[in-house]
């Protein structure tokens, strides 16, 4: 059963991508740690950290693509799952600070001492254990996605309505996490981390390990997604995207299918957030901002939705561009990003990947090119 899934998952493309990611997972940390700074192949720590961040974004975009590109659910609230995973990790890291905080309280994080809290809130219990935090990184986003999706998909909220309420969801969470009373550090969020699994988060080796872990996580997620997409389930996802009611009429429980994809996607987003937090050293309510979630959509769109490589390329390309622009021409970044939204939707509906594959198809022959062109058009709900 599982072998069949894996067999389907590891098609040529998946093997290639997984190998590249694993190679990066080894090569970059090795070059960073082993090679002298002067060596031409040395990867400086700040570059490694930057790309580590991009890889978590790529994982987030991949998660979004699973529901948007394949199932047609445009979530404008995926940043919420990312942030929840990040907060779960952040809570673990806060508990690891121990007495090294400013107030030196053995149990309570600094902000709670500052707020004059006497006891740890019940929902902070267990986060001193890594296994528990790891479980919560999957369960909290998954549970939120399950509850939200259960209601939304059962009552057949779809299309833009769904997009708008996912946005409302992350907005509500944004407001909630800004409140000090929530017990998540309010405005400032969680920061000043010291250790992860006993190693200092600042240490170069830890940073290299986190980078490797992110690349490996992305490779695993890619293989899982590839398995999902290549299975009959993945084909049904596309059916739901293209002709939802037709899918119902041949006997598929569309709401269950959507719910499963949504929950898996939310968990992946949670993992991405959890890997993001120790690398950037902070998590705050700003991660819940609706604008962030919409930006994830543009990464996916630029790279090419409905393909698994697209979102990874898109996340790295757009964020690379952002890093470059915000340093070189800070005034122009929003113009560029806004223009990117417009240009992608108007001229590149299938993103970079679509452009490349239709280019290849054109090389092969005009008939083929037409076919690819045709399939590139997003399917429309034709069932009445």
């Amino acid at each position: 059963m599982i072998t069949g899934f894996l067999f389907r998952a590891l098609d040529r493309k998946a093997i290639l991508v997984a190998l590249i990611l694993l190679a990066i997972a080894v090569a970059v940390p090795v070059s960073n740690l082993m090679l002298p700074v002067s060596h031409p192949l040395h990867v400086p720590t700040h570059i490694m950290a930057l790309f580590g961040k991009y890889l978590t974004y790529a994982l987030l975009a991949l998660a979004l693509d699973l529901v948007w590109g394949y199932c047609g659910i445009l979530s404008l609230g995926h940043g919420a799952f990312f942030a929840l995973g990040g907060y779960a990790m952040g809570m673990y890291l806060m508990r690891q600070i121990g007495t090294r905080g400013v107030y030196g309280h053995p149990i309570l994080p600094d902000f709670m001492v500052f707020l004059n809290w006497k006891e740890l809130p019940w929902y902070w219990y267990g986060f001193d254990q890594f296994w528990f935090a790891a479980l919560m990184i999957l369960l909290v986003p998954g549970a939120l996605a399950f509850v939200f999706g259960w209601f939304a998909f059962r009552s057949r909220v779809s299309g833009v309505y769904l997009s708008i309420i996912t946005q409302a969801l992350t907005y509500a969470l944004l407001l909630a996490f800004f409140r000090n009373e929530m017990g998540f550090g309010g405005n400032n969020g969680l920061t000043d981390f010291k250790d992860i699994l006993g190693y200092s988060v600042q240490a170069q080796t830890t940073r290299a390990s986190l980078f490797a872990a992110t690349a490996i996580a992305l490779a695993i997620a890619f293989v899982i997604c590839s398995g999902i997409v290549n299975s009959r389930f993945g084909k049904v996802l596309v059916c739901v995207r293209d002709a939802e009611s037709r899918t119902r009429f041949i006997g598929y429980r569309v709401e269950h299918i959507k719910l499963f994809a949504f929950v898996v996607s939310a968990m992946m987003a949670g993992v991405a957030g959890a890997l993001y937090v120790p690398q950037v050293g902070i998590i705050n309510p700003g991660e819940f901002a609706p604008a962030n979630s919409i930006e994830v959509v543009i990464w996916t769109a630029v790279g090419g939705r409905g393909s698994l490589i697209g979102p990874i390329i898109g996340a790295i390309a757009v964020n690379g561009g952002k890093s470059y622009f915000t340093a070189a021409f800070p005034e122009f970044w929003l113009f560029a990003l806004g223009g990117l939204f417009v240009a992608t939707t108007l001229f590149l509906p299938k993103g970079i990947v679509g452009l490349v594959s239709s280019g290849f198809a054109k090389l092969r022959g005009p008939r083929e090119a037409d076919r690819v062109e045709e399939t590139l058009q997003p399917g429309t709900e034709a069932a009445q």
Partner: protein
């Protein structure tokens, strides 16, 4: 409901549904026997499509009884549950999954476990593959099996959709305007295909094309303003004064 109320495969009694006060279906009663093929005709707005919506669970009737196999109350089930009970539907406008190949379309429609675990992990068995080959042969798409459904001609899409219905292996097929947009030759072939299917499965065909209905040579039900106007052979109903009136208007 433990006791069978009727031996008919499909049993509609006193069904009514209104949209914003407009009565789309008005006290409609209809029975279809096992293996029977029934043609349904009627002017635009007679309620043909709404009737299919009710049978397949897309629309819930305001009142009335809809029973399948004499004991299953269809008004209590949704579309996917009804499909799994054994009612397949072909839409007026052909709807196939355009970004999948012809073969994938059939594989997806094939009658088997549609649960999440099964769809994620189960392979297609040898028998299932054979069944798909059979259907491909039946709908004459064997050569195009690995083409995308989007590339098919209109008529081929209609056939693929019928093929998907066959793959579902339903007890009752609802076929809405199967020959719209087909050439004459294709129409004749389609009639033959449907007649082969009938007998084993019950079929309800909604069609405007009278030549096609004549080719089918089955009992005809005429719908008008949401209820049954006449029933019988095509010759019988086309002689009916009220039928002529409702088609031509006053």
């Amino acid at each position: 409901m433990t006791e069978k109320l009727t031996d008919a495969l499909l049993y509609l009694d006193g069904v009514s549904v209104a949209f914003d006060g407009f009565k789309a279906i008005n006290d409609l009663s209809l029975t279809v026997e096992h293996g029977e093929m029934r043609a349904i005709i009627g002017p635009n707005g007679a309620g043909k499509t709404t009737m299919m919506d009710i049978i397949t669970g897309k629309t819930r009737p305001d009142k009335g009884t809809v029973l399948f196999e004499g004991e299953i109350d269809l008004t209590r089930h949704d579309e996917s549950a009804i499909a799994l009970l054994g009612i397949g539907r072909k839409f007026q406008k052909p709807t196939v999954f355009e970004s999948h190949t012809v073969q994938d379309n059939l594989e997806l429609a094939l009658k088997r476990d549609h649960g999440i675990i099964a769809t994620l992990f189960h392979d297609t068995s040898k028998e299932q593959k054979d069944r798909i080959d059979e259907i491909l042969d039946e709908i004459r798409l064997t050569e195009r099996r690995s083409h995308l459904a989007a590339d098919l001609s209109h008529g081929q899409k209609q056939w693929l959709e019928i093929g998907m219905l066959l793959a579902q292996d339903p007890k009752l097929l609802l076929v809405d305007e199967p020959v719209a947009g087909m050439t004459d030759a294709e129409t004749v072939e389609t009639a033959k295909l449907l007649r082969r299917i009938a007998g084993e499965k019950a079929v309800i065909v909604v069609e405007h094309d009278m030549t096609f209905i004549r080719d089918l040579d089955v009992k005809v039900t005429v719908l008008a303003e949401g209820s049954v106007l006449a029933e019988g052979s095509l010759d019988h109903v086309s002689a009916d004064e009220r039928v002529i009136e409702s088609y031509l208007g006053r």
